[in-house]
Symmetry: D2
C-alpha cells in the first residue's frame, strides 16, 4: 500500500497517524466538517483529536484490527481535502 | 457605512446581499460552518440560502428593520473568512 | 410517490418544500450539519434557507427539472434526522 | 467549584474529562458542531477525541496549567447542549 506523504504507522502498528495544524479553531473545525461529510459518504470514519488549531488523525479498520486499504484511501482523501487551494485556485470562487 | 466589495442592497432596501460560489457542496458547507461559528460568537446571524456549491447571504437587523452597522461588520467578517488562503498562505499549515 | 407528512409541492410544481423550526440557531445549524452529511452520502443535495432558528428546505432534481423519487427519499431521510429522540430515546446516551 | 455530574479530574490532575456516546457518527458530529459554536462564542475550546459514536472531552486552561472556573462553566454548557430534548420537548419543533 502506498501511504500518502506525512502519514506514519502508529507505535502499536495498528493505525495510520498524522497531525494537521491550522490558523485557528474555526479553520480546523471547518476542515473536520469536510472530513466528517466524506467519512459518512464512504462509511469509514477516522478517529481524531482536536486541540484548538491542531487535529490528529488515527485511521484504523476496527473490523480488521489494523490498517487496510480503506485507511490508505481515507488518508489520501483527507490530503485532498487539505489542499483545495493548491488544486482549485482558492477556497472558493467569488461570484457577484 | 463602508460596504465591502460585491455586497449590494437588496431590492427592498432592507438587507445586504451577496452570493458566493465554491468548488462543490463540501467546500460551501465548510464555509457555512465557519460563518455559523462566527455568527454565534457575535450573536448576529446571517440569513443564507444554499444551492449545492452556491451560498447566498442576506444580512439584516430584524430589530432595526433594516441594515445596521452590525450587518456591515458581519459582511466584512464573511469576506475575511472567505479569504483565508490569501492572507495565511494556505487552508492550513501541515505539521508532521 | 408517497410524500412524507408536512411536505408540499412548491407553487411552481417543481419542488417539495417544508419548513422546520428549532430552539435557536445552534440547534438549527446542527440539524443542517446532519442533513449535509447525509446529502454527501447519497449525492443528492437539498436547497435550504436558514433564518436564525428556521430552516426551509426545497427539494428538486435539477437534471430531471422537477421532483423525483430521490427527492421523496431525501424528504424521508430529513424527517428521520429530525426525530432522533422519539426513535432512539434521547439525543444521545451518556456514558461515564 | 461544583463539577457537573459525570465529569472527573484526569489522572494528571490537570483537566476535567467525560465521555459521551451517541447513536452514530452523524449524531456525535452534530453535537460536536454545537460545542464548537459555543466554544467560539466563549473563546474557550475543549480538547476532544472522536471515535465514531463516542466523543471524549478533556477540558483544561492551558494558560493556567490546569482546571479553572472556565472549564467548569464549559462542562456545564456541554451538559446543557447534550440535553436539548429533556428541556425543550424535542430536537426541534416542526412548523408547517
Amino acid at each position: 500500500m502506498d501511504i500518502p506523504h506525512g502519514w506514519a504507522t502508529s507505535s502499536d502498528g495498528k493505525a495510520l497517524e498524522k497531525s494537521f495544524r491550522f490558523k485557528d479553531f474555526s479553520e480546523a473545525f471547518a476542515f473536520l466538517t469536510r472530513v466528517a461529510m466524506h467519512a459518512e459518504k464512504i462509511d469509514h470514519h477516522p478517529e481524531f483529536t482536536s486541540v484548538w488549531n491542531r487535529v490528529d488523525f488515527r485511521l484504523t479498520s476496527h473490523d480488521a484490527g489494523g490498517v487496510t486499504e480503506r485507511d490508505v484511501e481515507l488518508a489520501m482523501a483527507i490530503e485532498e481535502l487539505f489542499r483545495p487551494s493548491s488544486v482549485h485556485g482558492g477556497n472558493g470562487i467569488k461570484s457577484a
